[in-house]
């Protein structure tokens, strides 16, 4: 049995999903739906899984999320829908509910945040609301876990018994909208049955002018004309156009439901607190300094204080383990080639990358807190005007900030950007936000060349990336992406403390992902590199790594980097392995250096800086490239992204190296 979890953004959907499934989740891929969905097994139920659908406000096909949700429900036909609704913001939340009800699928309403409503003197008559909507209504608090088991029972029950929503007529009797809906339902009933989608839903979509549905239903010209005639008549009689008439009908019905079943809370503590916080966080003079301060604090804590220290500790542990294994293998008298594979290849490579796990987890910790508290929405509000200057909207700031953690979730987060144009442009700009997998490279280099100014050099690199990104954006805006940015209409939710469980689960997910990559892609890469480095063309073990297979490949492309100051084959080789995963640049370099200092490879600081600039900007890793391709559905364009990044990196490093040469 498959249940779908649907609801608005910011209504506690992820928290409920976690409460329903525990840590028993995985990412699934449904045919026909282009986006990966999170699926989890519901606790205490056999063969019953729940799919976490994207947070949406409506079932119109305007944003990627709305399309995904709609397609999922229509194509996969889940056995039931759990519609989660924020009880503190009930009117707007029920708007989606009314649309879901017309889909004619067994549905349960989960009325979330009831604890907050009660605490502020509000009540909801669950029975009356259930009657008015024709579905079971279960009050819950997803954060506390209240009511969740009852919710599961009711959802399973309606799905098993195929209990359809009892109410689906939301128009007042004998109104123009009512007449129009009934006429259209009558007209298209057969067509809707043919494609297996509820006629009510199709009617609403047709009335809203959804071209896609007119196609799907295969209406003939005559029927299309009749349809148009009905709608025009309704528009004339009601004095509202088709879009407004339907929205108005739904909200009017909601107002009736709410009047009958809800005693509104007085202004809630949460809301007062949010308003007070917003006086500073979105205040006229304080907003931008606070934002910069928060970002600086996040990065400082991650790269200097918490993450870095933990990384150092972990590196010590890994070193100790490596030594132990090294001694053990030597004592055992194992074949020197195998010894080299394990110690120089696997331990040095994978261990070196693994040591950066704490930094990445720490960064995600802060980013997820900023997102979950509702602060990111404020950042979008504050920064919108600025982003508009480079042709984007405030909404793009969130994916871009996530890009500092990892390009993969950042590219996926562009789904919240509602226009295709903005979305593509944001995806193109994400590679300029230096991802956390590049931190090992920066850390490795700054430790060797700028031991006293680590943070400063790191920040400069980040800023450089952003500046080049802005240039690229301005260029894109006036060339390939001319046109208007999306409408920017966004909710500013109340500030809430994120649940410990949600944050912990997210971090676990990120850590797991990173470890998996360390032991799959990076593991494989280290072995390949070790092999190429230890053997020559006749598969003999080489004495000197300069005779190895890898040296051959590196030497072949090294001249490309001569104008950038680092023509050594080892640099070229490290960069090649960075294609697999950025962390590999360091691990490869460590293997290739074979114990000698980094300065033996980079004679001057200028060369090192040029190399850093190149790594900052050149092609994203394989995982990110794959994500771009999946989100963009075009191999050619994706290849262009890769080529473009390499070209930009080459030019930037060239300029840095050559201009630097004039001064130093």
């Amino acid at each position: 049995m498959i249940l779908a979890l649907a609801g608005n953004q910011n209504c506690g959907k992820t928290t409920l999903f976690n409460a329903l499934t525990g840590s028993n989740q995985h990412v699934g891929n449904f045919p026909g739906v282009t986006v990966d969905q999170k699926i989890g097994e519901i606790k205490g139920q056999k063969n019953c899984s729940v799919v976490d659908l994207p947070g949406i406000y409506s079932l119109r096909p305007y944003t990627q999320e709305e399309i995904v949700t709609r397609d999922f429900i229509i194509k996969e036909k889940p056995d039931g829908i759990i519609n989660i609704v924020d009880a503190t913001n009930i009117e707007r939340n029920l708007y989606l509910t009314l649309q879901l009800l017309t889909l004619r699928i067994p549905t349960v309403l989960a009325l979330n945040m009831m604890d907050e409503v009660h605490a502020n003197g509000g009540t909801v008559d669950v029975r009356k609301m259930g009657e008015a909507l024709g579905i079971p209504v279960v009050p819950i608090s997803a954060a506390r876990g209240d009511g969740v088991s009852e919710l599961i029972d009711r959802a399973v029950e309606v799905a098993k018994t195929r209990t359809l929503p009892k109410v689906f007529d939301f128009c007042s009797e004998d109104s123009p909208v009512h007449r129009c809906i009934h006429a259209v339902v009558h007209l298209i009933q057969d067509h809707a049955e043919n494609i297996g989608i509820s006629a009510r839903f199709c009617t609403a979509k047709l009335m809203e002018g959804d071209e896609d549905f007119a196609e799907r239903l295969e209406l003939d010209e005559n029927e299309k004309e009749l349809l148009e005639h009905c709608i025009v008549e309704m528009e004339n009689e009601s004095g509202l156009d088709r879009q407004a008439a339907l929205a108005d009908m739904r909200y009017a019905y909601i107002e009736k439901v709410v009047a009958a079943s809800v005693v509104k809370a007085h202004e809630s503590r949460e809301h007062l607190r949010s308003a007070r916080l917003d006086r500073i966080l979105t205040g006229k003079f304080t907003a931008i300094p606070v934002f910069l301060g928060i970002m600086f604090l996040t990065f400082w804590l991650t790269f200097d204080v918490i993450g870095q220290r933990l990384s150092d500790l972990l590196a010590l542990g890994i070193d100790a383990l490596t030594n132990l294994v090294d001694k053990g293998l030597t004592a055992y008298g194992i074949n020197p080639v195998v010894h080299s594979l394990i110690v120089d290849g696997i331990f040095a490579g994978v261990g070196g990358v693994l040591a950066f796990l704490p930094i990445i987890v720490t960064l995600f910790f802060f980013l997820s807190i900023l997102e979950d508290t509702g602060y990111m929405a404020r950042v979008a509000f504050v920064m919108d005007k600025l982003l508009r200057k480079i042709g984007l909207s405030g909404r793009s700031i969130v994916p871009m900030l996530i890009g500092f953690g990892c390009s993969v979730p950042a590219i996926m987060a562009t789904r919240t950007v509602s226009s295709d144009r903005d979305r593509k442009m944001t995806i193109l700009l994400i590679p300029y936000m230096s991802c956390s997998a590049k931190i090992p490279i920066y850390a490795f280099f700054t430790a060797a060349f700028f031991p006293k100014h680590k943070a400063l050099v790191m920040i400069s690199l980040y800023v450089l990336g952003i500046l080049v990104g802005i240039l690229a954006a301005l260029l894109l805006k006036s060339t390939a992406f001319r046109g208007k940015p999306v409408p920017f209409v966004m909710e500013l939710p109340n500030y809430r403390l994120p649940s410990v469980k949600s944050v912990a689960l997210l971090l676990w997910e990120k850590a797991k992902d990173f470890i998996e990559r360390a032991f799959s892609v990076i593991f494989l890469a280290t072995i390949i590199i070790w092999f190429l480095q230890s053997f020559d063309t006749r598969l003999n073990v080489v004495e000197n790594s300069a005779d190895s297979l890898l040296a051959g490949i590196g030497t072949l492309i090294a001249p490309v980097f001569r104008p950038l100051g680092f023509a050594d084959w080892r640099c070229a080789t490290s960069l090649i392995t960075g294609l697999v995963a950025k962390e590999s640049v360091v691990s490869t370099m460590e293997i290739l250096l074979d114990g000698s200092a980094l300065s033996s490879l980079f004679g001057t600081t200028r060369m090192a800086v040029s190399f850093l600039v190149f790594t900052l900007l050149y092609t994203p890793c394989a995982a990110a490239i794959a994500t771009v391709k999946r989100e963009w559905h075009s191999g050619v364009r994706t290849a262009l992204v890769v080529v473009n990044q390499c070209a930009v990196a080459w030019v930037a490093a060239f300029l840095v190296y050559q201009i630097g040469g004039l001064f130093f």
């Binding site: 009117e91 879009q243 407004a244 929205a247 006229k284 005007k385 226009s419 409408p487 209409v489 909710e491």
Partner: protein, 75 residues
């Protein structure tokens, strides 16, 4: 008058919602339907976008879009 002309803290009732298709649908979906009450809460630090209260929650939209929303000031 239009929504952007309200002073901070002032309220009004929506008369009509204009704008192009996608934007307009979004505004309607978010609850900005005719006869709905709105209050202007604040302007972003750089003057744009604005924050309003509608149907008990906070919504932000740009001035260029707010211009398309006709309202009647609450007297």
């Amino acid at each position: 008058m239009t929504l952007d002309q309200l002073k901070i803290g002032e309220g009004g009732t929506i008369l009509s919602v204009g704008g192009e298709n996608a934007l307009r649908c979004r505004l309607l979906d978010m609850g900005l339907t005719p006869r709905t009450k709105v209050v202007l809460r604040k302007r972003a630090p750089m003057g744009d976008p604005i924050e309003i209260t509608v149907r008990g929650y906070e919504l932000t939209l740009r001035i260029e879009d707010a211009v398309r929303i006709e309202i009647e000031r609450e007297g």
